[in-house]
Each structure stands twice: as C-alpha cells, then as structure tokens.
Symmetry: C2
Amino acid sequence: MPYSYLSHLHCPKTNVRYDASQIQQLSEVGAPLLVDYDLDALRSAWKPTDLLGREASLWRYHELLPVLDPANVVNLGEGFTPLFRTPRIGQDLGIDDLWLKDEGIIPTGSFKARGAAVGVSKAKELGVRALAMPTNGNAGAAWSLYAARAGIEATVVMPQDAPQITRLETAISGAHLYLVNGLISDAGKQVAEAVAAGGLYDASTLKEPYRIEGKKTMGFEIAEQFGWRLPDVILYPTGGGVGLIGIHKAFQELRALGWLPAEQPLPRLVAVQASGCAPIVKAWQARAEASEFWPDSRTVAFGINVPKALGDFLVLRALYESDGYAIAVDDADLLAEQRKVAELEGAFVCPEGAALYAAARQLREAGWIRAGERVVVLNTGTGIKYPDTFAVDVPLLQPGERLPR
Amino acid sequence: MPYSYLSHLHCPKTNVRYDASQIQQLSEVGAPLLVDYDLDALRSAWKPTDLLGREASLWRYHELLPVLDPANVVNLGEGFTPLFRTPRIGQDLGIDDLWLKDEGIIPTGSFKARGAAVGVSKAKELGVRALAMPTNGNAGAAWSLYAARAGIEATVVMPQDAPQITRLETAISGAHLYLVNGLISDAGKQVAEAVAAGGLYDASTLKEPYRIEGKKTMGFEIAEQFGWRLPDVILYPTGGGVGLIGIHKAFQELRALGWLPAEQPLPRLVAVQASGCAPIVKAWQARAEASEFWPDSRTVAFGINVPKALGDFLVLRALYESDGYAIAVDDADLLAEQRKVAELEGAFVCPEGAALYAAARQLREAGWIRAGERVVVLNTGTGIKYPDTFAVDVPLLQPGERLPR
C-alpha cells in the first residue's frame, strides 16, 4: 500500500490539471492550486480502524497527505490536538454541547505548524533548497522552524508590529528575518520581488499548494475524535481562511471515502472576523463570490488582520456549500471572552480564538445556533504568544508581609 | 475493572501508611508522601495492548493514577507529548541515537501541567474548595488554570522577577495572585502562614502527594513510545526534581507489572542543574543523602533556580539507584545550545531544556554517555514562555525597499 495516494493538482477556477511531481506555485490564472488524491483506489484499501495505534500526530492520515516518501516527513510532533468539552462556558453561552479544539497544544503554539509541517515536508521532497514568505508572525515562525529542521534556508519578512514572540521564534531558527515598517502586503511585495529574481520557493499563503493539506487534518481529527459523527457547527477565526478551506476539503474527502454517515449533513462552517477587518463577512452578506480589499484594517487579533485573502473565493464557497455564516466581532468583546474562558475553563486561548466565543454568543442569541446542537470552537493558538493583549495589575508584597484574605 | 488501583500513601522516611481517602499533606516527620497502588491485582488485569485506542493524554494510564472517579478528571488535553529523533543535533553532540521528549507541546506550555492536572483532579475528588501555593511561575500558572476549570479557588504567590508570561496566565485564570519582592522561599513562608490560618489546601511542591503521579506519566510515555524498551540515558533539568522522582517511580511500577524486559537495566537518570544553583550536584558528588541550601542562587533557567528541594533525598535516591549522574552547566553554554537546537532541529526549547544539551555534550566528551547509546532529552517547556532570555537584532526595511540577498 502506498504511503500517499497523491494524484495531481488542479486549479479551482479553470479545473486545469497540474503535475504534482514538479514544483508548482499559483495556477496560470493566478489561483491557488488544490491537491487531488486517488480516492477511488483508497476507498477499497483504507478504513477507519486502520488508524488504531498510529502515532498521535497529523501524519496518521498520511494516505491523504501529499508526501510520497516517509523519509521526507519533517515532524516535530504536530497535530492530533485535544478536543474537549467546555461545559461551564457552554452554560454561560447557552450552548450545552460546546467543545474546544485547542490548537495551542502544538509545536510553535499555533495551528500554523500544520501547514508548515506538510508544506515544508513536500518542499523537501520536491528538492527545494530555499524558501521565502511574508507573515503576520505565526506562520513565519512555524515555517522557519520546520525549514530549519529540514535543512532548508528560510527568508521571512514581517511587519514591525507583529507579535514580538514570533520574531524571536523566527530569528532563533536561523532564518533570514526582516521587519518592514508597513503591513503584510508590503512584506508580500518584497518577497514577490525576491522570488522573481530566482532561486526561492514562494511559500506565501496559498501560493504553494500544500499548506491547505496540513490544515485540513483539523477536519480529519474532529471527525475521528467524535467517532466519525460530525458536529453541527464549527467556528473558525478567519484571516487567510486556509484552515476553513482545508476543513471543508477534509469533510468532502471523508464523505467520498464513505467514512461519514450518508444521511448526516456536513457541519455549518462559521467564518469569524474582527469588526475592524471583515472583508469575508461583507462579501458573504452580499452573497458575492470574492471579497474586496478592506482599507485601514485594525484588530488586536493580529492573526485575522488580513484585508484581502488570496483564497477568499474558496472560503466563501465553503460557507455557501455548508450553509454556514460569516460574522464580525468587536475587539472589546473578544478580550472579555478571552478572560471568561480562562476563568471558567482554564484555557488561555489566543485573541483570535476568543473571537469565536463572542461570535457564538451572538449566534446563539439570534437562534442561528439552535438548542442542543453540538458546536466546536477552533482555537488557533495559545494565549501565551500574545502577552501584550492582556494587562494585569497585581499587588506587590514585601517578604514577611501577610497575604490579604 | 476499577478506574484506579489506588491503595494508600506512605512516608518514604518511616514507611508509615496514610489513608488516601483523606486530605493529606506532609508526613508526620515532614516528608513528602508517596502513592501506592494495588500492583498485584493490576498485574493480572491489565496489559500493554489495553492501551490501544485510548485517548492521547496522560489519562490513558488511569489505572496507575490516583483519581477514583473519572467524573473528577480535570482535563485540558495534557500529556502524550511528542518523542522524536533529533539526528542533526545528535551528530553535533556525537550521540547518534538522540531523542527529544518535548513537554512544550502541552497545556500552559510546560510540563507543570501534568502535576497540576492530576493534583487538581485529586483535590477536587477530595472536596478541596481552595488551594494555595508559592511558585517560580510555571507551576502557579498551571495550577491556577486547572483549578479554574475545576471550580477551585487558587491563591498564588510568585517572586516579582518570575517570567512575565506566567504572571499573565495566573492572573487571567481569576486566581488571587500576589508578587513578592523576594524569592520563592519568601513566597513559601507567606503561603505556609496563610495555610496555617485554615481553609486552604497546601499545593506547594511535594506538600501534596499527587503531582508526582502526574509527572510520572512522562516515564510511562517514554516506555510506551519506545515499545516498552527503555532508553539508556534520560537527562532531566532538576529544580524541585519532581519529574525525576516521578519517572523513576514509573519505571519501578512498570517493572513490577512485568511490562519491561526483565534483563534490561533501567535508564541512567541524569539530574542537570545550573552552575549558579547546583545543590543536588554538590550532594551527589559527596554521595550525600540530602542536599544543603545553595545561597545566592542564580541562573537564567528560572525553573531550576531551587536552592533546596523538599524532595532532594528522593532525587538523590533515584540517581544512586539508577546509576545516574548529576551535572551543572553554565548559563552561557545553555543559551548557546538553545540556539543550536533551534537552528538544527527547529525545536525552540526552554532554557532549562537547553541545559540538557550542554550536559549531554560534556557527558559524551567524558565518555560517560557511550557510543551507540539511546539518549532522551526531556525538554520541560516551550521557549516561547521566556522571550527575555534571547535577544535578536533584526534589520528594519521601509516599504518598497529591496531585500538584501
């Protein structure tokens, strides 16, 4: 049995096929390429019980990942993150069956590790020696560290005001790191120019086809962890939207394999954005196929400060196909939820993850989330990486001073 | 089959038995209590293949954990952390078969989550409503967050110069947090005074019997992940030493169950300390039974800045019984190793974890680690939590400026 059932790539705009044995970036019409597998062959060769006893990482799904030779896998223990019930915040929200999928429990403390692990592994397999990318922080940190483990040279450009800790992670990996006194779009232009000069693999979001494959494993895990019965609703903090595209793709693949109950509808996917940067919400409200650039974007949830995503049309497609929703929340609300989740459940989620609770509250109050539904919140990273979004005022005692009671 | 085979507690100094169905703190002679199980009954009822398909957390070993009723388990997805090979740093050290057990991939980003999960769960089972503890940072953060999830009130006192991020984690949980302009020993005195006033469970290191049980699961996992063939050497950064005590206990329990090859010696355990705080090393060199207080202790590896550990005699016992070693390393060396591990393996380990590589280098050069031996480095937390130990100097570009190549 082959390690991977990778077949080819295709452009989701033109359906033109591309060769997966060669380095590919965008399609000829500038769209992200999607990865196809030989699902027909896999259907008869693979079943859920084959997963029993496999390692607790995303590589347990290697048949549906693009790496052909296990020797090319670059692994720091990523994936198979915890999924657990959160009854106390659930009660507070009026959602009894509320679960947290916690992507803070992963190398680099952010779900970006999934895309980096699979993306870097496949880059290694394709013979890439040097890659470059712009980043708002977490993706650059993850790709730099995985590239270091793979022996691939990384060049990363990030805005000066990206989270400080991601700068440290990128630098300690030995990557060539540059800050730009501007936005991720400025960093993107600088990377594009360097790539055009030759010799660099463009690892920008969705300009290589494989990070979606890493991110889709979140969908596989949710399905497996629930015993192949999917939840009713999944909330996802949406910047570039790669995870949402990936989760939707994962469910399509599992359905094609016959691993999901035929009668069960797929989960309604919810794209959550910040009020200060909500291009997907605006497009979804207009039932548009693509989003427009959001000027002067601003939010404390730095990871979802993406004014125009390259894969916006795929995100919107996933929302329409799943009968989902798109919703924006205020920074003040998400920061209040962050504290509440820590106080009630002991989970220190990142601001992007906290936004999901603010959204869930609104959707439950509006009745869109119905009583009794099973709802999954996908926290994309640990709160530890964002020390500046949460201020504390702690009493200072002198040695020998009695504790106030 | 019962969920737990908990039997009783005993004092390792006097062998007096204590009742595990009551709240217990130290023994009558002031020693930490150890937990015993009915291993005879378990031997015939439980086998390694029973673990197949169990959840990927430390609770997969519930038969050998002290919680009697699964309803009392306070779970954030802790444990079953990755164990992976690190060939490039291994080659650099001259240790071909070098592995990293990465405890940064765990709730709160530190192995303290294990002790907190089991300790808080058992406290909940025993009816504890409020606990208090001094901390150097990570333990306080972990116990506060698990206590929040359990609905237990936490009071935490930490030195003013403990890592800033652990202060945030503790505060956001809703714990009563106080800083002290002093050392953890000052915090300890303040907690002891508050406990003496009544109404508080003393959750100080080893003053409650159950955190060792959480930490020992690292030993179970290393054994299971290697297919029940133990490595030759395990290096462990030693402050309070609870993990080392726990790992040693785990191997004894597995041996008693007959799960380990009878002919195989147990791994040689190495306690690694900082040159600026090395009481265990000093005691071990003198073949002493206990350590002496180390005055004016100092190291960048804050988690191992423990001048006198309550369980020092148990740590030393584990070193002697396992034919192990105790070694101190300089701050400059551990900081250099931290960078090297990130550059070669993509793992951003904490300073305490980095100290292990400095120790491994010395022990290999001295021949104590022999060619061909399998060596495990136990990184106790993520480097992300210590942004101040690593300085970076990154070029700042203006938008439109070309990247230097």
